[in-house]
Structure formats: C-alpha cells, structure tokens
C-alpha cells in the first residue's frame, strides 16, 4: 500500500474537503430546494419501493408545491379552528329564489358577488387597499423565487406585502402550480387579514377553475364559502359548503360545513 499512499501526493488534485469548489456555489434558496426535493423524493421512493423517475426540476416543483400546500394547510387549519370556535352565526337569511351558482371547476373564473344580498357579514369591514398586481416583467425573479419570498413574508405576518407578492406570482406565471398555490394563499390573506372578501372569492374561484380536483381544492372551496359568508351571500355560501361536503366527505371541514349548513337552513326557514 506504500505505493498507493505515494500516489495521493498529487498536489493539483487534493482530497475532498469542506472548501469551496470545484462545483459552483449553490444559492441558499436553491440549496434548500434541492434538499427538500431530495427528502420528498426519498420519501416517495420509499413508499413506492422504486427509484424516483422525475427530474430534479419536477421534484423541486413538487417540493415547492408541497411546501406551499403545508403553508396554506397551516393557515387553513387556523381558519378551520376559528370556524369551529366561532360564535353562533349572525342573523343571515338565505334568499329563496335561485341565486347564481358557483362556477363549475371547468368554467372560467367568475366575478365575485356584485351585491351583498343578506344581512351584515361576519367580520365585515372596508376593504384594505392593496397594491394592484404587478405585471410580468423581464426583470422579475422566477415565479418560484417570488413564491418563496411571499411565503416568508406570510410567515412574518407581513400580510399586505405577502399578498402583493403572491399577486406578482400569479401575474408572472399564470396557470402554473406556483400561481395555483399563490391564488389560494392570497385569497386566504385577503379574507383573513385584509378585509377584502371579494378579491378572495375571485382568487379562490380562479384556483378551482384552473385546477379542477387540485391539491388545494378543499382549501379553495372552504375559502369560497367563507368569502361568500363575509360578503353576505348565504345562498352562494351554502352552495359552496354543499360542494365541499360532497367533494371531501371525510375531511376535517365536513363537520364545520354541515353545522353551518344547518344554521343557514334554520335561518332560511325563519325568514320564510
């Protein structure tokens, strides 16, 4: 082995160590995405007992989507908790005549309800002005980077900035996985923190229309119901809740949705 050891003394090609090079350094965000995607892929491959077949970029996209789903899911859980603990519903009355139906998943996005048809909504307040969505620009960072930035802002509770950044994602990469997550996340912020249920409704409906049966379908449907409630359209709210129960019968939202449907039914009968 002495001969082998002498061979190691080749100064131009040193042993692997912790120093930089020869690979180009990875940006911190890129590094995080690679690590996260590897964990997801390893987890998936363990479940499937097979080697992952997707490319790095697809895995990163998947990992990002998973991270967004977790983030939105966390907000959703908080929203759900609030709904579970909410005081008895206000005196809403549901109109008897057929009202506008919620957009079907395959339909184009629809405008939010034009006129509140019922009593004052829950947590009603004047919409908070928020900067309009930025238009797509060559100088904009990639949508995935913007989305990460928006998520970070959201974690820091910088709601208006987070929402504006989500809107930039939507403008930057419409009809993509990134915009899907951004739409649901932005809708949640609009509804929960910026007192803008109309824009929230539009965003949730757009997400549902562009991604039928998508991973965030439940969150978006619940968002529609909550936005309709905040706007005061009890009939549209009930429609969304019924669709939610039908589409996700075993979800955590089902008891909440069913309780609210019962309340709406009682109020409707009381007003008839």
């Amino acid at each position: 082995m002495t001969e082998d050891r002498e061979d190691f003394e080749f100064d131009v090609l040193p042993p692997l160590d912790g120093r930089a090079g020869p690979a180009e350094p990875a940006e911190p965000e890129r590094a995080r995405a690679v690590v996260h995607a590897a964990i997801e892929a390893a987890s998936s491959s363990r479940r499937a007992s097979s080697r992952p077949v997707t490319t790095f970029r697809r895995r990163v996209a998947f990992a990002l989507a998973a991270a967004f789903a977790l983030l939105v899911g966390a907000a959703f859980a908080a929203r759900l908790t609030r709904s579970l603990s909410r005081a008895p519903a206000p005196a809403l009355s549901e109109t008897a005549e057929p009202a506008r139906a919620r957009a079907s998943p395959s339909s184009a996005p629809v405008a939010p309800a034009a006129e509140p048809s019922l009593a004052p909504p829950v947590e009603s307040a004047a919409p908070t002005p928020v900067a309009p969505p930025a238009t797509s620009s060559q100088s904009e960072p990639p949508a995935s980077d913007l989305l990460r930035r928006a998520n970070d802002l959201r974690i820091e509770h910088r709601w208006a900035e987070a929402e504006a950044t989500y809107e930039r994602v939507i403008a930057r990469a419409p009809r993509t996985d990134e915009s899907y997550a951004a739409e649901v996340a932005a809708a949640s912020i609009r509804l929960e923190h910026l007192n803008d249920p109309k824009r929230a409704l539009l965003l949730d409906r757009r997400a549902l229309a562009e991604h039928p049966n998508g991973a965030l379908d439940e969150e978006a449907l619940f968002g529609v119901a909550e936005a309709e409630r905040a706007i005061g359209d009890a009939r549209a709210e009930a429609e969304a809740l019924r669709e939610l129960v039908a589409a996700h019968p075993s979800s955590l939202t089902r008891p909440v949705a069913e309780r609210r449907l019962s309340e709406l039914a009682r109020l409707r009968h009381a007003n008839e």
Binding site: M1, R19, E24, V34, V35, A38, I39
Partner: protein
C-alpha cells in the same frame, strides 16, 4: 442533538434531521459530483446522490465518517451518470475553451484553482478522470479502485500515471495560454 442522534432521527424519518444532514453534506456532494461530470449542470445528479444517501442511511454502521460513507455512494451515482452521458454521446470533444477559461481572476484562491483543475479534468478521458478522482479526491487505494471498477490493479496504476501526466500537461498548457 449529537451527530449519532441526528442520524438516528433521520433514519426514523425526522424531516428536520434529514434536512440538517443533507444541508451539511450538500457542498461536499456538489463538489464530488462536479469532479466526475463534465458540466456545471449537476443538480440532477446531486439530487440523486442525496436521495441515495437518505435511502442508504439505515445501512450506515458508523464505520468511518458519515461524509466518507456518503462519498462512496455519491461517487457511484456520479460515475453512473457520467457513463449514461457518454453513452448518449458518440463523441465528446475536449472543452479547450473551458480549460483556457480557467484563469478567471474574479474567483478567489482555492476555488479558482479547483475550477481550473476540474476544467482540465473535463478534457481527460472518462477512464482517466474517474480513476484520478477516486484515488486523489476520495483517497481510495489502487486495490479499492480496482475492486470498484472491476479492472486489474495494474490498469489502475497505468491510468493514474497517464492521468497525472496528462492533467499536468493540460494545466501547464492552460497557464501558458493565460494572459
């Protein structure tokens, strides 16, 4: 949390432990993959390497450092990827421009030197390259390389002699061409 605890947690599926482990290994994995591949587009192979580390973690017995154990796994992944790429290309000409480009004065010290070396490696044949990297970068013995590559030890020695000679020649030529 000790290193052993973190490894145990990672094996048990603790994602934060897995993330911490992979984040720590990532620069080393990236550098090793780049030593084997003739491109800076290494993300797919780095990813495969990290996945293989996680999947193989239950087999790590603590003999030697985790980094060294991971190196072997990643080296196999990277060599396989290099072979796949070679099969996809009937001819892979040496990247003379890349070698000459090694004198980028904007990059500091060790990093610049390693970039120059790896660009010179890019001009070597795959056989010389992987043998040099296994021996000098991963410090594998001739016998270990012979077993790993399923070739005679004398072939390994011959490749090392030729590889070192050729690499020095490429680096010297690159320096002569640099302003």
């Amino acid at each position: 949390m000790s290193a052993d605890d973190r490894i145990a947690a990672a094996i048990a599926g603790d994602r934060s432990a897995q993330a911490a482990l992979l984040t720590e290994l990532l620069p080393r994995v990236r550098n090793l993959v780049r030593y084997f591949l003739r491109t800076d587009d290494i993300d797919d192979s780095v990813q495969e390497g990290l996945v293989a580390i996680l999947r193989g973690l239950p087999s790590y017995r603590g003999e030697g450092t985790l980094a060294s154990w991971s190196d072997r796994i990643v080296a196999r992944i990277a060599m396989e990827e290099a072979r796949k790429r070679r099969r996809a290309l009937t001819h892979e000409p040496p990247d003379e421009a890349a070698i000459q480009d090694g004198g980028d004065g904007a990059e500091p010290g060790d990093y610049l030197a390693r970039r120059r070396v790896v660009r010179a490696l890019d001009a070597l044949s795959a056989e010389l390259r992987e043998t040099l990297v296994l021996h000098h970068v991963l410090e594998m013995s001739v016998q270990e390389i012979a077993a790993e590559l399923a070739i005679p030890a004398e072939t390994v020695r011959s490749r090392l002699r030729n590889g070192r000679s050729y690499l020095r020649e490429r680096l010297t030529a690159g320096e002569r061409r640099s302003p």
